[in-house]
Symmetry: C2
């Protein structure tokens, strides 16, 4: 397999990259700076790519935030909601059509490199507040990607039946440096410990009785 990995520098896509490398896939990690306020994840991504010894490209698309306005992830004038993903307020973190945009860019890069696969870390814990995290959306994209070029581009998403605790377990087996990964939506130097993604990260370690190496503000 020759795969472009949609790689944020977060926990999920880091475990995915380690898994694919352990399977001897040829990898290119791709991060997209779409104006997200937590773009410190991109610096985490660079460190992780170095530790993996895999090429990594960061594409800056700062004008995307204007095109896709209205998300608290990209618009600093909208306050970031705290608490669990299930809460109504978390809907403000939706970036319109983000996954289709990221997958289409990764597929274009894969075609350009003559690779055969786009890999991403969709998992069973992905949340129903994000319409573009639904399996039926990913299935439709898999079909579209198979027709985007003369050679089929495969959409590889090996985690769709695993939850975040399963990913932590797998990451430990693979020697993932979790302390390098970045999850927090708020940005800053330390994880805030309060936003949806921090809450979920903590829970993933707690649920399986492991200690999380992340330093949280609270």
């Amino acid at each position: 397999m020759k795969a472009v990995v949609l790689f944020s520098g977060g926990l999920d896509s880091t475990v995915l990259s380690y898994k694919l490398q352990s399977e001897n896939a040829e990898l290119k990690l791709l991060s997209i700076d779409y104006g997200q306020r937590h773009n410190c994840e991109l610096a985490s991504g660079s460190m992780i790519a170095k530790s993996l010894g895999v090429p990594h490209t960061v594409i800056k698309l700062p004008m995307l935030a204007a095109l896709l306005g209205g998300s608290s992830l990209t618009d600093n004038s909208i306050s970031l909601p705290l608490g669990h993903y299930a809460e109504e307020s978390m809907k403000s973190t939706v970036v319109p059509n983000r996954n289709m945009i990221l997958l289409s860019l990764a597929a274009g890069h894969a075609i350009s490199l003559k690779f055969d696969t786009v890999a991403y870390a969709a998992h069973a814990g992905d949340h129903t507040i994000y319409p573009d995290c639904r399996p039926e959306f990913a299935d439709a994209m898999e079909n579209a990607l198979s027709k985007a070029d003369w050679n089929k581009i495969n959409l590889h998403r090996p985690f769709v039946k695993m939850n975040k605790s399963d990913l932590v377990k797998l990451g430990i087996e693979l020697g993932v440096p979790f302390e390098m990964t970045w999850s927090c939506y708020a940005g800053g130097k330390l994880h805030c410990g309060k936003c949806g993604t921090c809450v979920e990260r903590k829970e993933a370690f707690e649920l399986i009785g492991l200690s999380d190496p992340t330093k949280y503000k609270s």
Copy 2:
């Protein structure tokens, strides 16, 4: 209908915009600067949008050319092929996965604006050298777009059974200012008259016995 129109400033998408306006659709024209050498089409786009009185946004994504390298449309080190589209050499003008990327950006913008439709000017004369101009690809994208958000985004492509001469005829009925539209891949001040898209533009007028108001170098 509230539609984001993928709008290049070329003949096809200009006729589409005039047609939709004549049907009283609410429109937002979207042009993407992906590093194409013929970005003079974007200046044409601005003039046409003004003459239509419709809002127009140009999004600059200059790093896309690096991500999607290897096309003569975006890489000035590769010479632009001349002659008819059917020729093998024209394959160098393929930009990997361009249509999926453009449609996904337009859909993100539509969701952000609470619009219901993405419109684009795919037509029966689109060429088989472009895998992402095939109807089966567009059908797959239509399905994916219907699942990208909670509210369905429609993919409107009213020209799929029309050829370029049909578009010229329709444009004349609608009062399209063809002299403002830009087709030539080579860029410059005048249309070159020799590249695939110039050859095709000339033929579209000739086939129906109309004079083309375009000024060609040759």
